[in-house]
């Protein structure tokens, strides 16, 4: 330690001995040997864990009466009604609520999962394709230009995208694209959801497409960075073995960063599940109906919360807010579950891959 370090005596010769005590000597020493850095590091590492736990606990506490009153019906019910806010409050099982309050989140849950699924199905191939073109095809300068635009696009405010979706993109889809699909889709299970009335520009498909547009830059930019790190040697090995460019990409380059790409997709999925403004502006905000085809107006969890916030504050019993907290809890659980599942997936897949450490 600092006490036994060689010191330069005033006489000029080095020797061992106690250092003269100076103010802050201990702090200086612990800065030097890394104690301070270690504590800062530990604190920093704990923050995300604590924050997540804190939010979960607070949400659960706030939502607890709603959880008790709504029960499992919360997941199967399709009605979202605050009840008569001007009537006398009723107490059921110790929970105070307005008469006629009924909360079923099924439409919102289906809407959230549906729009996110549409977004992923479209965004993942497009984003990976974009990243591949940028890394493997475009000349360097053009690649960095396109990459820059991609990052710019990732930072586009969602309200801007939402407005464009509601005013321009939605009507275009509803009038010019969706009818073509709806007319030509065969009436068989699953595909029949693509048939029927195409609405007028607000609904599940439009919201899903808007979400796709919003997460493509995120996934593509992350994938591009990953692909740029794939070493040349295994790719040359594939080429020397007589593999075509596509085979090299499919069998070597993409698997090399497969775990990372799953991570990028989860990042995008998290954004899609939680995206509020753009979806609220394009979903049609129909709270209590499960959409019967993919064009119909609907709602998502996030959109429901933002759109019923105002009236929820009018509920003198506070029950509407508690139900919104329960809804948020459901959204958090969905997001956390997809994250964990993706991580498990990566761990299984990367068993045979990735010399660069597991669980990239």
């Amino acid at each position: 330690m600092a006490q036994s370090a060689p010191v330069l005596r005033p006489g000029g010769e080095a020797g061992y001995g106690p250092l003269p005590r100076r103010a802050g000597a201990r702090l200086r020493a612990s800065l030097k040997d890394g104690t301070v850095i270690r504590w800062f590091g530990a604190g920093g590492a704990l923050i995300p864990v604590l924050a997540l736990g804190f939010i979960l606990v607070i949400l659960t506490v706030r939502a607890w009466p709603a959880i008790r009153y709504n029960g499992w019906g919360f997941f199967t019910g399709t009605t979202w009604a605050e009840g008569n806010l001007y009537g006398n409050s009723v107490r059921t099982g110790g929970v105070l609520h307005p008469p006629g309050a009924a909360y079923g989140a099924l439409p919102a849950i289906i809407g959230t999962l549906g729009t996110s699924a549409i977004a992923l199905v479209i965004a993942v191939p497009v984003a990976i394709g974009t990243a591949l073109v940028i890394v493997e095809r475009l000349p360097k300068r053009l690649a960095s230009l396109v990459g820059g635009f991609l990052e710019l696009l990732a930072g586009l405010p969602s309200v801007v995208v939402g407005l464009w979706g509601a005013v321009t993109f939605g009507p275009f889809i509803a009038h010019d694209i969706a009818p073509l699909i709806a007319r030509n889709m065969p009436d068989v299970p699953v595909l029949s959801y693509f048939r029927g009335s195409t609405g007028n520009g607000q609904g599940m498909l439009v919201s899903g497409l808007i979400l796709a547009i919003m997460i493509i830059p995120i996934v593509a930019a992350t994938t591009r960075d990953l692909l740029g790190q794939v070493p040349i040697l295994p790719r040359e090995g594939a080429v020397a073995l007589g593999m075509s460019e596509w085979e090299t990409t499919r069998r070597v380059t993409l698997p090399w960063v497969g775990g990372g790409i799953v991570g990028a997709v989860v990042l995008g999925l998290g954004r899609a599940l939680g995206e509020t403004m753009a979806v609220a502006m394009t979903c049609g905000a129909v709270l209590s109906t499960v959409p019967s085809n993919i064009y119909q107006t609907m709602t998502t969890i996030a959109a429901t919360v933002v759109q019923t916030m105002d009236t929820a504050f009018l509920d003198g019993t506070g029950f509407a807010l508690r139900s919104l907290a329960e809804l948020c809890l459901v959204l958090m659980l969905i997001t956390l579950t997809t994250n964990v599942v993706a991580r498990l997936l990566v761990r299984r897949v990367s068993g045979t891959a990735l010399p660069v450490g597991r669980g990239l």
């Binding site: 040697l233 090995g237 594939a238 020397a240 073995l241 007589g242 069998r251 990735l354």
Partner: protein, 284 residues
């Protein structure tokens, strides 16, 4: 078999046939040893303005091991990588003159590049397994060239791994990651992978430069077993290695081919003063 013949089932893919038989089958009339497998005529290579090799005329003898030696920057690796056209896509690469494989130009428009690379395999300075299981690594090329059905892959993998002496070490963990193998084992795996597509020529680019002496020894011993079924060209910085494994040696310096001859004669009694200076360690 001509280069254009493309991706039809290759004899090497049939279980039970070894590389020797496959290679023989691939060129039934070419058993006489002195003949050239690869021939460079007046070959000049460069990247952009920079010339790497000038006016190289050389024959690589079929069924023998030929070493390419020379100081750093002498163009050994560029020449080697030209033999299976690995340089074609490198920015600024240019060539004049020609390289003939079995008498046909490798740049002939009728030559299918993927088929050429199947016939001229390559092993690199450092092991480069693919991010897939050990088993999938061995048969990656076989699958890409559609040389065998799904059911045959396992026996192909076993044969090739046995051939390089890796079978006993990995037979219990074929589904495992190749990145947990030692460096030497990884390089052997890459060799098995290259052999699995039944090449005629094998290009080795300093294949042992990242390996320890024991692994180097086993790779060198293996190289000797590949001839005369295959033609082997090896780039090496290690003169002792060239002496141990090569039948013939080519000395390159400053982008020119200085001397080409029997390995023994090249080291004991070189014709050129430059060669003598290099092999005796006076420069390079």
């Amino acid at each position: 078999m001509s280069i254009e013949a493309g991706r039809e089932k290759h004899p090497a893919a049939v279980p039970g046939t070894d590389v020797a038989a496959a290679a023989q089958g691939a060129r039934p009339s070419a058993s006489d040893p002195g003949e050239a497998s690869l021939r460079a005529t007046d070959l000049t290579l460069g990247f952009g303005q920079r010339a790497i090799l000038t006016g190289v005329n050389v024959e690589i003898r079929r069924g023998s091991v030929t070493a390419l030696i020379g100081p750093t920057g002498s163009g050994k690796t560029t020449l080697l990588r030209t033999f299976n056209r690995m340089n074609d896509k490198v920015a600024g690469y240019r060539h004049s003159g020609d390289v003939l494989l079995d008498g046909q130009s490798i740049w002939h428009p009728g030559v299918e590049l993927m088929a050429l690379r199947r016939k001229v395999g390559m092993l690199f300075q450092r092991p480069n397994p693919f991010p897939m299981s050990i088993m999938d690594n061995v048969v990656a090329g076989v699958k890409a060239h559609r040389m065998a059905g799904r059911g045959e892959l396992k026996s192909i993998a076993r044969d090739r791994l046995s051939e390089v002496g890796l079978w006993d070490a990995v037979s219990e963990r074929l589904k495992d990651s190749p990145f947990r193998l030692s460096g030497g084992q990884q390089q052997l795996l890459c060799l098995a992978r290259a052999l699995a597509v039944g090449p005629e020529v094998l290009l080795l680019d300093e294949p042992t430069s990242s390996l320890d002496p024991i692994a180097t020894e086993s790779i060198e011993a293996l190289i000797r077993t590949l001839v005369p079924a295959l033609t082997v060209v090896i780039v090496t910085h290690n003169l002792a290695q060239a002496r141990r494994v090569a039948d013939r040696t080519i000395f390159l310096n400053n982008g020119r081919l200085v001397e080409h001859g029997e390995t023994g004669q090249m080291f004991e009694d070189p014709a050129e003063e430059e060669t003598a200076r290099y092999v005796s360690g006076r420069f390079g």
